[in-house]
């Protein structure tokens, strides 16, 4: 290397080009390691020909990746070497760990300068990746977003409130469930009071709530003061529901009596009392005997085949009966019902009961009121709940 006047640079980009075999021409290709090389100009090139240093721009010039001598050489001439002393302002290859952050211009690092998979999690600030930087694309075989478990806790997705102080979670079933299924949401947002149902394959749709199950409509209690009857009318018996159930829970009677039911097609203004009630009721009693009551036409449904015992005071003689009423508003069929339950007979026997019947008339009517009462005396205490069922 030629000596320097002044402080010697600690780095440089000095390139000795590949040897050139001369011939009878002026122009020769310049190669560096077999690759074409284009010095910036003739002044940065030190060219020695036949042991004599050549004058740049006079004896030779640089044209792209070629050197052009002012006179044609011969095959006897020898180009001893060509040394490129670096490009204008070139500092050569920096030594390891010498380029500080300050030496890199802001926004100068391009995508091509970053290796694939080179950015680690630690290089990304917490909460730094915003929604615009995320592009979650699902494919037929993989989810756009996967929330993983940690080996003990099941994966879940949390949806926060506006202040991020509360949140609800959508959580995976536990590992022990071995659950792998897809829930596909409906195409629309459904109607009021509808619920999500599945087709059995995870495809969800909105359907009317309560389908198939009884839901409570109203409960009325007798806590003090006997009543002669308990009535449910069109306030609750509506076309919203198809079938109805009345649960008479833990009630008592003021005198030994039978439990009756009548129906009305005018919302209770008149309860039908014609001898059109056909029914059969049976009691199974704790002395192993049975009793039956039935009629092909009487003035009410008689739900108990035996008389219920007057509760007295204090009472240990309560009764509980469930009555199912089938499609009472249907104007194409007659009114029908079934019942089952428990009561204490007037002879102090425990009685299981079941029965059923229909009203043999007014088939074209809607029956929108139901009255429960006794053949004689009053109902005391008890809870009476009306349920409705959609299909």
């Amino acid at each position: 290397m030629v000596g320097y006047i002044g402080k010697e640079p600690t780095v440089g980009n000095f390139i000795k080009l590949d040897s050139i075999t001369t011939s009878a021409t002026t122009t020769f290709n310049l190669l560096n390691g077999g690759v074409a090389y284009s010095p910036e100009n003739a002044r940065v090139c030190q060219v020695v020909l036949n042991g004599v240093l050549q004058n740049p721009e006079t004896s030779f010039n640089i044209v792209g990746s070629t050197i052009v001598f002012s006179q044609a050489l011969t095959s006897d001439d020898v180009i001893d070497y060509i040394l490129v002393l670096g490009d204008t302002l070139s500092v050569g290859t920096p030594s390891d760990a010498t380029v500080s952050t300050a030496k890199i211009v802001d926004s100068a690092v391009t995508t091509a300068k970053v290796n694939d998979s080179a950015i680690t999690t630690a290089k990304i600030n917490n909460d730094a990746v915003d929604k615009d930087k995320i592009n979650l694309v699902s494919t037929s075989s993989s989810a756009g977003l996967e929330v993983k478990g940690d080996g003990s806790s099941d994966g879940y997705l949390q949806l926060n409130c506006s202040q991020n102080s509360h949140g609800i979670k959508l959580k995976s079933p536990p590992h022990s469930a071995s659950a792998s299924y897809t829930l596909t949401f409906p195409n629309n947002d459904g109607n009021a009071n509808q619920v999500l149902t599945t087709d059995g394959s995870g495809v969800l749709s909105f359907a009317d709530a309560g389908g198939g199950a009884f839901e409570k409509l109203v409960t009325t209690n007798i806590t003090s003061g006997a009543v002669t009857n308990v009535t449910f009318d069109s306030t609750y018996i509506t076309s919203t529901y198809r079938d109805y159930r009345i649960i008479c829970s833990n009630f008592e009677v003021s005198a030994d009596s039978y439990f009756y039911m009548r129906i009305s097609s005018d919302n209770g203004s008149n309860f039908l009392s014609a001898n059109n009630y056909k029914y059969a009721s049976r009691s199974y009693k704790s002395d192993s005997t049975t009793n039956s009551q039935g009629s092909n036409g009487t003035g009410e449904f008689r739900l108990t085949a035996d008389q219920m015992k007057d509760g007295g005071s204090p009472s240990d003689h309560t009764s509980s009966i469930i009555i199912d009423i089938f499609d009472p508003l249907n104007t194409n069929t007659c009114f029908s019902a079934s019942w089952r339950g428990f009561f204490t007979s007037s002879t102090s026997l425990a009685c299981g009961l079941y029965g059923g019947g229909f009203y043999d008339g007014n088939a074209s009517s809607s029956f929108n009121a139901i009255k429960l009462f006794l053949n004689s005396g009053n109902l005391e205490l008890g809870s009476y709940t009306l349920y409705g069922r959609k299909i």
Binding site: T220, V227, N229, K371
Partner: protein
């Protein structure tokens, strides 16, 4: 004492018309008391007779005590004219 009905959740006093109707229902029920009781007695009697019907088959000779017992059952309702008569009636004891 006035009567009440419980409609849905509301306790409502009977109207005069409803009171009269209910009075009639209870009176009708009371009036039918003897018929119901004698009917129940017949049902109970028939059940007891059925329990010994197999002894009346042609390949069996019924004992005199059983014959008497079954005849007493058949005659059970004879002479019963009031509710008190029916309630006081006791079925004969079945022979061994």
């Amino acid at each position: 004492m006035p009567r009440y009905k419980l409609v849905n959740q509301e306790r409502i006093q009977f109207t005069t018309e409803e009171e009269a109707q209910r009075d009639q229902e209870e009176a009708d029920w009371e009036a039918g008391s003897f018929d119901r009781k004698i009917e129940q007695l017949r049902k109970d009697r028939n059940k007891l007779l059925a329990e010994t019907d197999y002894l009346a088959l042609s390949d069996n000779t019924m004992s005199e005590s059983m014959t008497t017992y079954r005849q007493q059952l058949r005659d059970a309702t004879n002479g019963l004219e009031t509710v008190e008569d029916v309630e006081a009636y006791e079925f004969p004891t079945k022979p061994e």
